[in-house]
Symmetry: D2
Subunit: 309 residues, 4 copies
Amino acid sequence: MAMTGVLRPGHVAIRVLDLDEAVKFYSDVMGLVETGRDDMGRVYFKCWDEQDHNSYIIREADQAGVDFVGFKVLDNETLNKLEKDLNEFGIETRRIEAGEMLETGERVRFTLPSGHEFELYADKTKVGNGMGLTNPAPWYTQSEHGIAPVRLDHMLLYGPNIAEVKKIFCDVLGFFLVERVLGEDNETEAALWLSCSHKVHDIAFVEYPEPGKLHHTSFLMESWERVLRAGDIMSMNEVAVDIGPTRHGITRGCTIYAWDPSGNRFETFMGGYHPYPDYETITWTWDNFAQGLDYPQRKLHESFLTVVS
Amino acid sequence: MAMTGVLRPGHVAIRVLDLDEAVKFYSDVMGLVETGRDDMGRVYFKCWDEQDHNSYIIREADQAGVDFVGFKVLDNETLNKLEKDLNEFGIETRRIEAGEMLETGERVRFTLPSGHEFELYADKTKVGNGMGLTNPAPWYTQSEHGIAPVRLDHMLLYGPNIAEVKKIFCDVLGFFLVERVLGEDNETEAALWLSCSHKVHDIAFVEYPEPGKLHHTSFLMESWERVLRAGDIMSMNEVAVDIGPTRHGITRGCTIYAWDPSGNRFETFMGGYHPYPDYETITWTWDNFAQGLDYPQRKLHESFLTVVS
Amino acid sequence: MAMTGVLRPGHVAIRVLDLDEAVKFYSDVMGLVETGRDDMGRVYFKCWDEQDHNSYIIREADQAGVDFVGFKVLDNETLNKLEKDLNEFGIETRRIEAGEMLETGERVRFTLPSGHEFELYADKTKVGNGMGLTNPAPWYTQSEHGIAPVRLDHMLLYGPNIAEVKKIFCDVLGFFLVERVLGEDNETEAALWLSCSHKVHDIAFVEYPEPGKLHHTSFLMESWERVLRAGDIMSMNEVAVDIGPTRHGITRGCTIYAWDPSGNRFETFMGGYHPYPDYETITWTWDNFAQGLDYPQRKLHESFLTVVS
Amino acid sequence: MAMTGVLRPGHVAIRVLDLDEAVKFYSDVMGLVETGRDDMGRVYFKCWDEQDHNSYIIREADQAGVDFVGFKVLDNETLNKLEKDLNEFGIETRRIEAGEMLETGERVRFTLPSGHEFELYADKTKVGNGMGLTNPAPWYTQSEHGIAPVRLDHMLLYGPNIAEVKKIFCDVLGFFLVERVLGEDNETEAALWLSCSHKVHDIAFVEYPEPGKLHHTSFLMESWERVLRAGDIMSMNEVAVDIGPTRHGITRGCTIYAWDPSGNRFETFMGGYHPYPDYETITWTWDNFAQGLDYPQRKLHESFLTVVS
């Protein structure tokens, strides 16, 4: 009965301007594990502690940004039921056949009112985290190769109609609203943090006129000390940093934001608390948003609020 | 759809030998928040970051140990369905009326084959974590009063028939088996770590001839540094420590175990990883159990393995 | 033979605009221990883990800034010898009688070429760190009251003629130059980090036209997690933060800078390495100063470089 | 004037039973940097963040243990003066010529009343810490190779006549007594922690009937998290662990003790406080020594107290 629907963000497909440069960045600086390349020129990565074949996929394009985001669901029965629920809610879906992405089963794809391509899937080949299933060590060499996040954690997407998006996630897909930021009118929801688990966010949205934009992909670090280490590695490799290290008031998460060589923002993140579906939503008012964004500094960083890919 | 069944360990009821001494210990050393006392002489506590009215309940008795363990479920519909499922599986249940525990709704109680009283409930009054729902701070004074764990995390129970217990949790209540230890025959499961979420354990069982025993109640700490601080506070207050600080190989969790003044073991715990229901079970073989128990030292601590309440 | 001369920064006297507000700030937000007040209206504080009676002294004035900085030397013999050495070097000194500062012995005062009043002294009453000298605990309640730094660590002073200042510290007082930043000409020393111990700095200077200015007083924190906690407390108390949390390239120290209510900058700092007098000086070139200042972000923060008191 | 005498523990020469095994252990598990081998079959190592050519030297022998311990002094003038002082105190010294140890200057050797060979030297070739002297990074790959301590920190030696040893260190060499443990009579000093800096110990002695024994060599780690990591690596490499992770009451240091493959105990250590020569000695009474040894557990670990090499 527990965790019976949507499990977690399973993959995100990102456009990069120069594939070789990006592969080098994600392998050596970010410390992801390359797990495959496909006929379409896409390169597949996973974080060291993830069990499934891939979670971060890049392809070369003229413009940076996000192609699509996929969430894993418990099984095919769940996938079918959710598709039916989506359709009944009025969302058109289409099936992408198994194998279109390496080692990944059939996907149910639809377009969010925010302009993002979103999909659900039930199957992805397990390749393990490199430590086996019998008497495993807590970590290994790969855990210290580059920034080396533990897992893909969540994404923050920018686009229009997030009130509609919220309905789909909360009323159809079973997410709950963990935190939100109100707009200047102190009424409209300007930003939403949504969870399908007891994470402080599995996905988040900010209201924005242009559809389909990516604010950041977030990777989970194991400690505040690992966030500092991530910042060191960014500096050593001349990665462009946006903000941090700092703590968000929103979610309590501790973080650094930076950009990949193509201008896709990513987050190295840790902490937060453990909300459950029975929790009440936390609200950040517009006048106090600066504290929500950068807890120690209470500063509205211009680039953070406006630059997307 | 997500997290639609059993949510989390919601309360545990513990017997102590001297109520005043225990109240002092749990308030000032452990740093729990006392939230009420009832007609039956029970004292109710919660961890500072918990939203619900209570999670740790003590009463005076001639013998230490655990009276019952309760898990919160999503809603009454879930409660009814799970009760029906339990009955169909052959488990007898009984209803305990709302209000029998302070600020707690109706509970569905049954006896596990291990001899433990276990219950499910859907309602408990929200009292908040002391920081409100609008622009909350990440922590406050109470977060540093005593050991001050974030939340009740899990329990490890000792008793017979854990193979039967596993069926109830996995086949009826929707938990999954995260890790297990095999016995000397390298086949029988001697210990089970079960999750209804993406925690490394919401409850755990060890096969043991005597029914209904408590190995420990676990409280979540926010960092390895907070575990060290917990150990300092134990020493300052002459708390009897069993093992730690150390890391478990099993679950990767970092920990100290100690006893309350009545001899009920508790754990101050952090870390671990984030398994999901689609993960495969990790197995610890008997010959390597020492590394699973105390990762740095690889030592089978006699008291840890044999003392229960 | 070891540590036979100047020991450490022993006190700093700071001007504040509103004494009551400042006392409240340094007691409750910074978490210093008030240890006395004198006839001249000065209020004396120490950090919780310091043994001597006082290290941070404030008085009310029309303008914020630093009155004087005092370093403790090993004994009176050392004090006399250093005074003689200073005089021989051409520095005029004057004696301030014992007791002019509470619980503090005779001081040898002189003016640095940078315009700062600097003094040496051998005696200050030991009041202890609150944990006694027999079987002491590692910390106690005061260690978690407010930001609660461990000790006064160092100061960064702005003023002219730092080449002259360096000679006094290195040639007369026995300090060594740990790190330095070169000016735009890549030759002149624009900033100096000086140590009389194996700390990365006991005092630091930046070349600046206006004499006698204070950039910041630095307080030592025990860990990166305590620096984060300091930032949280700053936010909770609406303290104006300048930069951080971040790591300096220079000294490797991890830090937050903020201002007291009067506009005196302070630092909550941890880390760095352990240079000794036989170490060679590390040089930061002008073109890479941004990395030296804010290692992750490589950003020249305007306020940090220009605002002094 | 500052730090004008004995600077720090500069090298320790250790006997191992199997050189190849030991080289492998110290290179790959401990993560020291091999810097040379000499005609006598000795292998030289340094910690990654040390500037001098070597600090840990091993040679193959029939019995484990320590050959000699060397402290670096400021310069040759200091070396000569200290030799004269030692001689006047009644200590016979002899000179070992420059070059007898690789890249190391002339050494002044003498035998301590505890039976240990001890030496002072002023010169050792600087090879740097691998990051250069201009715009250095805070760490690099070697900092994460194996346990990777920052530096050689101190040694604890077992032998007779430590009251005599104390006089030499405190009255001749300028150390001060930071902490001590009293014996059962609550009067005799059973253990001494001595500093020539503001470290909690540069060397320590325990009264013991057999002369010249090694309890442990200590290596400095940067954080409590790095101590945990050290314990993980010990387990991954089947290193025999004695005690820890834990905190000492004595010195407040946080630690794991383990043995190299030959049975020489070493410590991976962090923390403590910052005593100066003007501090008063802290005393641990015999009845509370267990808390001094293992702060959380208050346990007198038999092996820790009796096993030496």
